[in-house]
């Protein structure tokens, strides 16, 4: 029987001066790297496939398979790029990980680069998290000084350079191809796929782009093995996962539990709803994942469980709202966010989010009309699946799910207006 909480990635965080290489090495740090360098790179890729590790950045793509897509013996340089541009509303797991335990990410980067035969890796961190960037830079410096980075790492003949790259405030750069353009010094706008980064990524060379939590898991898999990793979680979504509880809960924070844990179980550990006010709606994995309600407390929070219940696991960013919060207001705020962050490349997303905001703001002001709900859904229908990247798809999630579960609240806003209009004409 696996414990309700399974600290793996979060275990070291409670150590004093957890971010230093002294603490890291004292707590088994860099033992996985030594072990990995004794293996053939293809064995590491196979082990990652066997573990069933799936990407922790939201999409859940099998990590080992992604590594396996990199063509070998192609004579081109290969690159590893870490997506540390954490910005999906509600998501707050990677920043604390890098702040408390930057070396676990760096060790994962070295092992992964060795596996995919990359000699240059970049960690693209959003710019607004200066302290995190400081600690990552210091950790890289420490790793070079100890011979874990640079030329001929630990006498293996393997070379790797790592650069910490600070972004400049653009949510869209969390999309992997926009991130690559941004890392190339351009506007962060998504590319049309295919070609996928595995064949034409950074500088048009084969590139793996992985999330922070994904890569920080790699040293543990190397040391513990694929079977150990699979002891946690569920068959198709194995492993531990950092669940980020925020909002109207008694004890918000980071809870690392097996995949498939439910919000009811997590809320119980987090001391329940704040002040006992009942839950109204929540996001399973950030604002781009369709809303859940009190009816979904027992949905297993893994990739399959969330999909079967009509949403997505996303980044396991559990934003929890109680009965005091208006759904149309929350949806309007999120839509303002998507409108601001739409990069402008694709018309449906750029224009659609602009009009969605206008309509929602009008409704929240109490000036909605009976046709507004239909218009909203119609605009959403014209955005979903019609742009290069998933930003537009994410933008419609709160609206369509909000209307699906709380249509009465939207109707009430129109109703108020029609009553006022009736009063005015009388």
């Amino acid at each position: 029987m696996v414990s309700p909480l399974t600290p793996v990635l979060t275990k070291r965080w409670t150590e004093p001066r957890s971010w230093t290489i002294e603490t890291y090495e004292r707590t088994d740090g860099y033992t996985a790297l030594r072990k990995a360098l004794t293996a053939h790179p293809d064995q590491l890729i196979q082990q990652c496939k066997d573990s069933g590790l799936r990407g922790r950045g939201g999409a859940g793509f099998p990590t080992g398979m992604k590594w396996g897509f990199i063509p070998q013996g192609d004579g081109k340089p290969h690159y590893l790029v870490i997506n540390a541009d954490e910005g999906e509303p509600g998501t707050c797991k990677d920043i604390p990980l890098m702040m408390a335990d930057p070396h676990s990410l760096i060790e994962g980067v070295i092992i992964t680069s060795y596996a995919i035969r990359a000699n240059f890796a970049a960690i693209y961190v959003r710019g607004e998290v200066l302290h995190c960037i400081r600690r990552l830079n210091a950790a890289v410096k420490e790793a070079y000084a100890k011979g874990y980075l640079g030329k001929d790492i630990l006498g293996s003949g393997f070379d790797l350079d790592v650069v910490i790259h600070a972004g400049a405030g653009a949510y869209i750069c969390g999309e992997e191809t926009a991130l690559l353009d941004s890392l190339e010094g351009k506007r962060g706008q998504p590319r049309l796929k295919p070609p996928f980064p595995a064949t034409a990524g950074l500088y048009a060379a084969p590139t793996v782009v992985n999330n922070v939590e994904t890569i920080a898991s790699v040293p543990f898999i190397v040391n513990g093995g694929a079977d150990w990793f699979r002891e946690m979680g569920r068959e198709r979504s194995p492993g531990p996962k950092i669940f980020s509880l925020s909002g109207h809960v008694t004890n918000p924070g980071q809870y690392e539990a097996p995949m498939g844990t439910t919000l009811r179980e997590l809320l119980d550990m987090a001391g329940g709803m704040k002040d006992g006010i009942p839950i109204k709606f929540w996001t399973p994995g950030g604002s781009s994942t369709p809303l859940f309600t009190a009816e979904h407390l027992d949905v297993p929070l893994d990739f399959e469980g969330c999909a079967e219940a009509g949403s997505m696991l996303g980044t396991t960013a559990l934003q929890i709202f109680n009965e005091t919060v208006s759904v149309p207001w929350a949806v309007m705020k999120w839509t303002e966010f998507y409108k601001h962050e739409s990069c402008g490349k694709c018309t449906p997303c750029r224009e659609g989010t602009y009009w969605l905001v206008q309509i929602l703001q009008r409704m929240v002001r109490g000036e909605g009309t009976a046709g507004d709900i239909d218009t909203l859904l119609d605009v959403c229908d014209n955005i979903l699946g019609r742009s290069f990247c998933a930003l537009g798809d994410g933008a419609v999630s709160p609206i369509t799910s909000g209307i699906k579960y709380f249509k009465d609240e939207f109707l009430a806003l129109c109703d108020q207006n029609s009553k006022a209009l009736a009063g005015a004409s009388a």
Partner: protein, 238 residues
């Protein structure tokens, strides 16, 4: 190209720009950090700053401008000594972020990306509302020069901003001792020399550690790892 651009961007800054270029396989990747470097000099990205980057990277001014105007963190007007960013995304807003922003707006008598006081002068403050800052378990949050001030209220935020205006530098909840916007931008460009002590401070906020702490208290652990987990056999080439 290592020429000194002009008086504003002296030899030291040009050398730093070249050091940024040296980090990357291809020079243009240096543009984002270089724009942070430009802001560390002037407190914003001026037309001169754009020319400087263009010259360093052998790009056209239009190419650099296109990038500088795309990203929120590059400011087109001079910033105050401090940049105060209040998260007003949905979750922080519901917890009080909107009220915090309204309070600061009233107090400073400025709007989004406007500066109270003479930009660059001591006590001057640029205010902005920010999108999700990835600290939702600590919300509502605000940042000063990208350092976190967690679990804010309108009262606490107002007190903080008044202290900043009077030249004080209240310590962030997580992060290094507060400096100013320009020095923060220098670090974002990747220059940390002589600032080793900045690394100190808590490993993490209490909230960050909640799960790990509860697990330790209750004796909950991940399954124990085998002593010597073996690698799978080398896959056969197809």
């Amino acid at each position: 190209m290592t020429q000194t651009f002009d008086q504003t961007f002296d030899k030291d800054i040009a050398e730093k720009a070249q050091a940024i270029i040296a980090r990357y396989p291809q020079s243009r990747s240096a543009l984002l950090p270089m724009l942070h470097l430009v802001q560390s000099v002037q407190g914003y990205v001026s037309q001169d700053g754009i020319r400087f980057c263009a010259a360093q990277l052998d790009l056209s001014e239009a190419e650099v401008s296109a990038v500088a105007t795309f990203y929120t963190m590059y400011k087109r007007r001079p910033c105050g000594e401090h940049l105060v960013s209040v998260c007003t995304n949905t979750l922080c807003a519901a917890l009080g972020g909107d009220a915090i922003y309204a309070t600061l707006k009233d107090h400073l008598k400025v709007g989004h990306e406007e500066t109270a006081g003479e930009p660059g002068e001591p006590g001057s403050i640029t205010l902005e509302h920010a999108e999700c800052l990835a600290a939702c378990d600590l919300g509502p949050v605000l940042q000063v020069n990208y350092e976190f001030y967690d679990n804010q209220t309108p009262e606490k935020a107002l007190e903080l901003v008044k202290a900043l205006q009077e030249g004080e530098k209240p310590a962030p909840t997580r992060g290094a001792p507060l400096t100013d916007f320009k020095q923060a931008e220098l670090q974002l460009a990747g220059f940390f020399e002589g600032r080793d002590a900045d690394l100190d401070g808590p490993s993490a906020a209490e909230e960050t550690l909640r799960g790990a702490t509860i697990a330790a208290e209750r004796g909950w652990t991940a399954p124990s790892t085998p002593d010597n987990a073996e690698f799978p056999p080398l896959p056969e080439k197809k």
